[in-house]
């Protein structure tokens, strides 16, 4: 332990503690701007400087580690003046458009300016205005608002290892730019939106589709249905000041009705559908490999729910295309079913049905624009809103969200199981799939406490589990005694590590789940800011709680799904499924697409 004093108060902290964290223990919050706990501690913005006795210059507290006897002052005249100068400099070229900014009231710079009592900025703007980058479906970049904290660069390069965003030019002319071009569309960007989730200001955000959704809601000729992803209900409350991990499914349902959606459905319904299709696909692949010795069938099979991962795979590992499940993501399965099965059922033309998704994700905005996603004949999903956008719509409508009564979702596409809930978490799709696959093969429940596959839960980057299949049913005898090896990776950097190990032959798996975002969808690029590991854990817990409180916890038990197969689809991997629920991928490595 190290003894130090902070503002003359003695405190003992473990070796290796930074001044920033030590100060928290005596109730002092040192302001930060570029700092991202655990990810980026660059000491670049200089907001967090403090006075350390005997040091000639002020020390950045986010990176300076305490030493024995250190005397730290966090609120001296020099410190206050230095922070004020830094803020004034940052504000000198920051557009004064707070009232119309996407981040109004949710901006770290605005908050710091307020806290530090900035009443006048002595320095004049000298920067030329740069054009907005609205070139991609998911993300909008406003380089004018960028304060060059480089959080986006860190997540893009070090967490996701996609390296789209990088600083370009030097000094005052430095900008954060995508690849060698000026537009994100010209660069290799997977649209995961993690950059927009960490931006402290309004420089990177999701493309705003709120107005299009209002327009659809205002149109009396349209029937507007909404689906909400499993990760929304564990995070939406944060937009209204509720603690991370507060489950708000009932209040969200009520709010969506008040907003004017004609049917409040659930992506969870389609998640259950995905498990049936994908689980069956896995079994079919295993059979072809193990029994028919078909060399053309690739294992391991990779999940395909995460559109960020799909983009990444198409750009960086197109050789894995045969390995990736042909199943569409739940969002797109929902759209295809809504505009065919459901439209027919209620006697509506698919053209008059508008499908709105609420997703924790910016890549979903990209996904719904893909040419392949028109199996119903028209765009299967019309608009995608992020969690943050839904929060804004609810605020725009003046809804007192926190005090809303709980409501139930509509049948049939709002009916789901606990297996669908856990799609939100890293490891969730795998767990849900195992619950169903194991039962199909053995006729018995997955033999784990609470149906949880604990080794693949949690925030470790790459997780593995092995499951010995015993007591198989007659038709699955070929799987008797087989040890099923599965793995889960979340965050594309972790995915890359795992894929490289697979390719080098060090690891062998049958089934792999990959989610583009750290923590899975609960940590998606469209979730309320700022998603720290603490927040991730809280959301993950909430999702498991939701699952455990359900009547049905296995996808194949979903009663609405049984009806869907009886009335419409026939069987998993059947003719209609193939047409509506499965897709294909493209090699984008050589840049032809």
């Amino acid at each position: 332990m190290i003894n130090i004093t902070i503002n003359d108060r003695k405190i003992e902290v473990p070796e290796g503690t930074t001044i920033l964290n030590a100060a928290k223990k005596v109730g002092i919050n040192i302001p930060t701007l570029c700092y991202l706990e655990g990810l980026q501690e660059p000491g670049s913005c200089r907001m967090c400087v403090v006075e350390v006795e005997k040091a000639a210059t002020l020390q950045p507290s986010c990176v300076t580690v305490v030493s024995e006897g250190m005397k730290i002052y966090t609120n001296t005249k020099r410190v206050r003046e230095a922070r004020k100068i830094i803020l004034e400099l940052l504000l000198s070229d920051h557009p004064w458009e707070c009232n119309t900014c996407d981040r109004n009231q949710d901006c770290e710079l605005q908050k710091l300016a307020e806290e530090h009592g900035i009443k006048e900025v002595r320095f004049q703007s000298v920067k030329e205005r740069l054009p907005l980058d609205e070139s991609t479906p998911g993300i909008v970049r406003d380089p004018n608002k960028c304060i060059l904290c480089r959080r986006c660069v860190t997540v893009c390069q070090e967490v996701q290892e996609v390296t789209t965003l990088a600083p370009r030019a030097r000094g005052f002319n430095t900008i954060i730019a995508p690849g060698a071009g000026d537009l994100l569309s010209e660069a290799v960007c997977v649209q995961c939106g993690q950059c927009s989730a960490v931006c402290p200001v309004g420089a990177i955000s999701e493309k705003n589709d709120i107005d299009k959704v209002w327009e659809a809601l205002d149109n009396p000729d349209k029937l507007v249905v909404v689906q909400t992803a499993p990760a929304i209900r564990a995070a939406l409350g944060e937009c209204f000041g509720l603690e991370p991990g507060t489950l708000v499914k009932g209040r969200m349902t009520a709010a969506l009705r008040i907003l004017g959606f004609d049917r409040v459905f659930d992506t969870n319904f389609a998640a259950d559908l995905t498990i049936l299709e994908e689980g069956t696909e896995l079994l079919a692949r295993l059979k072809k490999v193990l029994v028919e010795k078909d060399k053309k069938v690739a294992l391991p099979m990779f999940t395909s729910c995460s559109p960020g991962w799909i983009n990444y795979m198409e750009y960086f590992y197109p050789e894995l295309i045969p390995n990736v499940s042909t199943c569409k993501s739940p969002q797109q399965m929902f759209g295809a079913i809504a505009k065919t099965y459901y439209a027919d059922k209620i006697g509506k033309k698919k053209e008059d049905l508008v499908v709105v998704s609420v997703m924790p994700c910016t890549a979903k905005k990209f996904e719904c624009e893909r040419e392949e996603m028109k199996s119903s004949g028209v765009k299967d999903v019309d608009y995608v809103l992020t969690t943050r956008e839904l929060g804004k719509m609810i605020k725009q409508a003046g809804i007192d969200f926190v005090n809303l009564p709980d409501e139930e979702m509509d049948a049939p596409l709002g009916i789901s199981t606990g297996a669908a809930d856990i799609f939100a978490n890293t490891g969730g799709v795998m767990e849900a799939a195992l619950r169903t696959v194991y039962e199909i093969v053995t006729g018995r429940e997955l033999p784990f406490n609470g149906l949880h596959v604990t080794p693949i839960q949690g925030l470790a980057g790459v997780k593995e589990a092995s499951l010995k299949i015993e007591g198989t049913k007659e038709e699955w005898r070929f799987l008797e005694g087989v040890v099923l090896n599965v793995a889960v990776a979340h965050g594309l950097g972790n995915a890359k590590k795992m894929i490289e190990e697979l390719k080098s032959g060090k690891k062998q798996y049958h089934f792999v789940e990959i989610m583009a975002c750290p923590g899975g969808c609960i940590g998606g690029g469209g979730q309320p800011r700022l998603t720290t590991d603490e927040v991730r854990k809280a959301r993950i817990q909430a999702v498991y709680k939701e699952d455990e409180g359900r009547e049905y916890r296995k996808s194949h038990e979903n009663p609405a799904l049984k009806v869907l197969y009886e009335e419409f689809l026939g069987e998993p991997l059947g003719e209609r499924s193939h047409h509506l629920l499965h897709t294909k991928y493209f090699n984008k490595k050589d840049g032809t697409i």
């Binding site: 660059p42 000491g43 670049s44 913005c45 200089r46 400087v49 210059t57 002020l58 990176v63 020099r78 003046e81 230095a82 100068i85 830094i86 400099l89 940052l90 000198s92 070229d93 004064w96 006048e120 002595r122 320095f123 004049q124 000298v126 304060i147 060059l148 600083p167 030019a169 030097r170 000094g171 005052f172 002319n173 430095t174």
Partner: protein
């Protein structure tokens, strides 16, 4: 090695400046003319590095007499040979007041008055042919390396360097022996020695002239350092514009390898050391040692967070020792002649000499090596030959990031301690001397323009602060500055000094704060008379608010 029995030697300074003035042609003509007179076996014409004076065209020197001639043209050569070499009369038309360095007699040596005698770093510059390794060996070259490898342990070398009191000549003045000991105690291997030859400070070109004039001395210093810290690879990070230095260093490396002075089993010991050259792209901040490492590894040239220091985790995350060219040039002489000898030069706190490039409105601009602790007045009036036109007004010490000092500091000794005591800095070795025709605002503005261009863009205070100060100096120049302009500049400069990420950002404040200290009255002349109105509309520009 064949000993050349010449009565006299004519040294032709071949460096980047003189080549452009036709030094090579003068050299060829000299050889022809001397041969015509039948003097070829008595007088050798030797190509060497910079002889010292700059702005004096082609410069040649004569040993043993020590005269230096400048502005030599091809047309002068015939007459020069006739007058000086045949008739033995000085060729007055081109004679310069400077003299070549001669042997030092330490018994009568006065550390405060060593004009033209007693050089350590530049000892061989302008005296030997830098492209001939045998000439370097002939003046005692590589002897220090031999002594180090065969007679001393690495620990003894480090102690010797520490005892000598040598401090880093790149600007910061960190004790060299101590720095070496940090890298030496690391267990991780491989380790690296890096010679920082990125010399980016405007007005400073001492390192270039050292490398052009005596490249082997750098290699020898690096090899000794490698032995001391346990490194087998050295890199010279050199800016790409230094073509002649690169060429000569490459030749020197090749020659040393041929003779087994670099490479495997040097001097028959089990010590191996190779030197490689990395060419930089001319970014100022890459002279900062951690930005240099980033650049060497192919990353954006931005400083890294310290700690970890390079000694712990440097090039490719391995223990690395980075020294400036001039620092390394001091190493071989120290090993050869001892710490005691080195301490006879300079002051107690700052032993040794310092190489300066002296520039500006002076009679004799050029490269000088003087003992630490001599005063600005001595440099200006003894070495630089006084002010060329007008009156002395100010001096900028240490390049664009150096202090701007007024006449009241002329008698301040130039060494680390004396300068530190009055809050100033020795800097990188450029001394810019100016008369009353130069305006402080102009000087600051030009300097700041450079920093705006060279700021890496990483930390906000340097990235934006330099640009805002540049705006301020432009307003001061146009005499439309705000009433609180100087206060704002001062606060901004203090902010930079206290909070910038790296030494570059911190040093931007140096010229600004010193100018505010000594030339505030002149700076105030740029402020526009005003009436202040309280701002009504926030979006109005400051100018509109203040002057409306």
């Amino acid at each position: 090695m064949m000993v050349k029995k010449n009565i006299a030697q004519i040294l032709v300074g071949i460096d980047s400046n003189t080549v452009l003035s036709g030094a090579r042609k003068v050299k060829t003509k000299l050889i022809t003319e001397i041969s015509k007179q039948g003097l070829s076996d008595q007088i050798a014409v030797i190509e060497t590095g910079s002889i010292g004076p700059v702005n004096k065209g082609v410069v040649i020197g004569i040993y043993p007499t020590g005269e230096i001639y400048g502005n030599m043209s091809e047309e002068d050569v015939a007459e020069f040979v006739q007058e000086r070499l045949v008739k033995g009369r000085p060729y007055k038309k081109r004679l310069l007041p400077e003299r070549l360095p001669l042997e030092v007699d330490l018994s009568t040596y006065d550390p405060r008055r060593t004009q033209y005698v007693g050089r350590i770093v530049l000892d061989n510059c302008g005296r030997i042919n830098p492209e001939d390794i045998e000439e370097y060996i002939g003046v005692g070259g590589y002897e220090a390396l031999g002594i180090a490898l065969k007679e001393k342990t690495p620990q003894e070398i480090i102690s010797l360097v520490r005892d000598s009191g040598l401090r880093g000549r790149g600007g910061a003045g960190f004790p060299t022996g101590l720095k070496w000991s940090f890298a030496a105690r690391e267990k991780e291997t491989p380790k690296y020695v890096i010679c920082n030859a990125d010399e980016g400070e405007p007005g400073t070109f001492k390192d270039r002239l050292i490398m052009e004039g005596d490249p082997h001395k750098i290699l020898e210093g690096m090899a000794i350092c490698g032995y001391a810290i346990g490194a087998n690879t050295g890199y010279i990070y050199i800016r790409g514009e230094y073509q002649l230095s690169i060429q000569r260093l490459k030749k020197a490396i090749e020659d040393a390898e041929k003779l087994g002075l670099l490479g495997q089993n040097i001097f028959g010991t089990d010590f191996n050391f190779e030197v490689k050259i990395k060419i930089g792209a001319g970014s100022y901040v890459c002279g900062e040692e951690t930005a240099l490492l980033n650049s060497m590894e192919g990353f954006r040239g931005e400083p890294r967070l310290k700690p970890p220091y390079p000694a712990e985790s440097g090039f490719l995350s391995k223990p690395t020792n980075v020294n400036n060219v001039e620092t390394l040039a001091n190493v071989a002489p120290i090993i050869l002649k001892g710490a005691e000898w080195f301490r006879k030069f300079g002051t107690e706190d700052s032993p040794g000499t310092k190489v300066y490039t002296i520039l500006g409105q002076i009679n004799r601009p050029g490269l000088i090596e003087v003992p630490m602790g001599i005063t600005l007045r001595e440099i200006i009036y003894d070495y630089a030959g006084g002010i060329s036109t007008g009156e002395f007004k100010m001096v900028q010490l240490g390049g664009t990031a150096g202090d701007i000092l007024s006449a009241e500091l002329l008698d301040l000794p130039l060494d680390y301690k004396s300068l530190q005591e009055v809050g100033h800095n020795l800097g990188s070795g450029a001394i810019l001397i100016m008369n009353e025709s130069v305006s402080v605002v102009d000087l600051l503005k030009c300097g700041m323009k450079f920093f705006v261009h060279e700021s890496c863009g990483r930390c906000s205070v340097c990235r934006i602060g330099t640009r805002q100060m540049y705006e301020s100096f432009q307003r001061l120049e146009k005499k439309i500055a705000y009433p609180d302009e100087l206060e704002n500049i001062e606060e901004l400069a203090k902010g930079l000094k206290l909070t910038a990420f790296c030494p570059l950002g911190q040093s931007v404040a140096t010229p600004v704060l010193s100018a505010l200290k000594y030339f505030k009255a002149e700076l105030s002349e740029g402020i526009k008379p005003h009436k202040i109105y309280k701002p009504a509309v926030r979006n109005q520009s400051r100018a509109e608010i203040i002057y409306s």
